[in-house]
């Protein structure tokens, strides 16, 4: 399929309230042409509402949506020319696989020979060649997923929306489909907006991730930036695991429990912050303190070890009572180098990994 020029999406002040609840609270969002952008958030965060507004199934209270500079906020759904993959696939049960995929082409009055050719190509693209005559209820969940995908892209839409398309699949299939959808996106090149509540899925697939909470976008960034430099505690907790230690600035120097910290990128303003520690960041210090590289030291005691197959989670209680978790890769049999519960332990954290974040998203009123 020829990768035609994709559309960029520009959303301004998009608002939708259900009674006192603001499902969308003045969303401003620019999605680049050809980008794979994921809307990530807990249920009720507004991510699905935003997608429905993009598709035209939901009329916002106010705001603007532009596709490639063209205002579409009042445009009916069938005139928006968007491909969409629904959470439950929404395949037409009274049509064959081929008829489902041909449906958007028939509506566009493509001639029969061309329809047959493109349906065949779309089936090949989702690795379902030869399945055209099957009935929908003869397909497995994964196959339905692919048919829904084929139907959404067969008419080469400039924008593709996906509403948690993998949530009904088992984990192995989901992992494979994540990669496949990502590859498909690169081949067809259309702007893709993907909704999920699965943070790993978002990190795996996206060019950028918009984290939503309470109808607002709390952070919009690359997966790496979202994970390593979350904008606030909400993002840090929603994506990945982390421990938080309270820190505050005294005369421009950040302190935790009375001890000064070495920080690679300290916040610009003083005040109270949280030191966010991802479990894979700290390491166990064994020798005496050295000044080779700037490292923050945290003394504590091992509270618990949790074996999780590929890794071991070590729960540590610091001297001031704060809990910190660290994860160590389980290396083969007889992990003799693991600390014992109750043993004293010293954790090191490099200055680069010493990340301070806001306590909440107090950036907005």
């Amino acid at each position: 399929m020829a990768s035609s020029t994709a559309f960029d999406i520009r959303i301004r002040q998009l608002t939708k309230a259900y009674g006192p609840i603001r499902a969308l609270d003045g969303i401003d969002l620019d999605i680049r042409a050809g980008e794979f952008l994921t809307l990530l958030g807990p249920s009720g965060s507004g991510k699905t509402t935003l997608l429905m507004a993009l598709a035209g199934f939901l009329r916002p209270d106010c705001g603007s949506i532009q596709f490639a500079g063209r205002e579409v906020v009042r445009l009916q759904p069938h005139k928006r020319d968007i491909g969409m993959v629904f959470q439950n696939y929404a395949l037409f049960p009274h049509m064959s696989v081929a008829a489902n995929i041909a449906y958007p082409l028939r509506l566009r009055h493509v001639d029969a020979a061309e329809i047959a050719r493109r349906v065949e190509a779309a089936l090949a693209m989702v690795q379902l060649s030869g399945y055209g005559e099957r009935r929908i209820d003869q397909l497995s969940g994964g196959q339905r997923q692919r048919v829904a995908l084929a139907r959404a892209i067969v008419f080469e839409p400039k924008i593709v929306l996906m509403d948690e398309p993998l949530s009904a699949l088992d984990k192995q299939l989901r992992d494979r489909m994540q990669i496949e959808i990502r590859q498909l996106h690169e081949r067809i090149g259309s702007t893709t907006v993907y909704v999920t509540h699965d943070q790993r899925e978002a990190l795996t697939m996206s060019d950028r991730v918009a984290v939503l909470n309470g109808g607002r976008i709390v952070q919009l960034d690359t997966p790496q930036a979202i994970y390593e430099r979350p904008a606030c505690r909400f993002v840090a907790e929603f994506i990945g695991e982390s421990s938080f230690l309270p820190v505050e600035a005294i005369d421009g120097v950040w302190h935790h429990a009375g001890r000064a910290l070495t920080i690679a990128q300290p916040p610009e303003r003083d005040g109270r912050r949280l030191l966010m520690i991802r479990p894979e960041w700290p390491f166990v210090l064994t020798g005496p303190p050295s000044d080779d590289r700037p490292t923050n030291r945290f003394e504590g005691r091992v509270a618990n070890l949790i074996y999780q197959g590929d890794t071991v989670l070590i729960q540590v209680v610091l001297a001031d009572g704060s809990p910190v978790q660290l994860r160590q890769v389980a290396r083969g049999h007889g992990s003799g180098d693991l600390p014992a519960p109750g043993a004293a332990i010293v954790l090191g954290l490099t200055a680069a990994d010493t990340v301070l974040i806001a306590e909440d998203d107090g950036e907005r009123p």
């Binding site: 598709a55 969409m84 929404a90 449906y103 139907r151």
Partner: protein, 310 residues
């Protein structure tokens, strides 16, 4: 419910040959459960046999008896010889088709509207749809008579408002019969149709419109085909009920609409001719079954009795 609590399997000696530990007892439990399930259906099966199958067989037998009690085809021969019988059957099927058609025309939009309402509102409206079932058929039919007759409410109001000048012939004819029958039978169409429409996933309509279908196209290509099984089920029920209708044609038809059931009643009440009445019943049954079979052949692939298949 099942009454027969299947007790614990009796322990069989451990290490039985073939390693089939408890196998026989477990199979026995399986059989017992199936038997209990069959027991649940037994009362209904008995009832159908006693009240349906046996009387129908008896009907066949009676239809083959002449007045003097000898075996003969005279009852059937009469139906062919006298053209009035043919007219009666035509009228019966005409009323059946017209009533079913009108029920579809009125019922489909109604069921559609109900299916699009929020569940609570729809439930309330459904009660209103079912309201006619709460009063007796006879009372409702006489009520229509009062409303529709020359000096009835509708004609007097219509003329008072200057909508028409002469009383409309709304009763004692086909029109009156149809009005009464549609009123009675509409819920039978709406109920299964509404169920089928409720079962249609709204995302399917959204998907259609997302893929470029206008609301009318989405309805024609997705909603309508998916609602057809429910429509077929409802229409079938209405049509079959029509064929056996008696009270409404008698009261609102005013003797001008003679259905098969009316003639059967005449044969029994007036002429005491059970053989002739039975023969009419048999022919109606056979005609109806052939029609159903034909419809089934034509609509092959459409699941008539399955409701929405989503």
């Amino acid at each position: 419910m099942s009454g027969s609590a299947t007790g614990a399997a009796r322990p069989s000696p451990i290490g039985a040959p073939g390693g089939d530990l408890h196998a026989a007892a477990l199979r026995r439990d399986d059989r017992r459960e199936r038997l209990a399930l069959f027991g649940l259906a037994l009362p209904a099966l008995l009832l159908v046999t006693v009240t349906m199958a046996l009387p129908t067989a008896w009907l066949f037998w009676l239809s083959l008896l002449a007045d003097d009690g000898t075996l003969s085809l005279v009852n059937y021969a009469r139906m062919i010889e006298q053209p009035s019988y043919g007219r009666t059957f035509l009228t019966t099927f005409e009323v059946g088709f017209l009533t079913t058609g009108l029920c579809i025309l009125i019922g489909y939009p109604l069921a559609y509207t109900l299916s699009q309402l929020p569940q609570r509102t729809a439930n309330l409206c459904m009660i209103a749809v079912l309201l006619p079932f709460w009063t007796s058929l006879l009372v409702r039919t006489y009520a229509w008579l009062v409303l529709l007759q020359r000096t009835g409410l509708i004609n007097s109001w219509g003329m008072a408002l200057g909508l028409w000048t002469e009383p409309l012939p709304l009763v004692h004819n086909l029109a009156g019969t149809l009005i009464g029958m549609v009123h009675v039978l509409l819920p039978y169409l709406v109920l299964p149709l509404y169920g089928a429409m409720r079962a249609i996933d709204r995302d399917l309509i959204r998907a259609a419109s997302n893929l470029g279908a206008s609301p009318a196209q989405a309805f024609r290509t997705v909603f309508l085909p998916l609602s057809l099984p429910g429509l077929a089920a409802g229409a079938l029920i209405v049509f079959i009920l029509c064929l056996g209708f008696y009270v409404t044609p008698v009261i609102l038809g005013g003797g001008k609409v003679t259905m098969v059931s009316n003639r059967i009643a005449d044969d029994i009440d007036v002429f005491f001719n059970w053989g002739a009445a039975s023969a009419l019943g048999v022919v109606l049954l056979v005609l109806t079954l052939s029609l159903l079979w034909l419809t089934g052949r034509l609509a092959r692939g459409v699941n008539l009795f399955g409701g929405g298949h989503v």
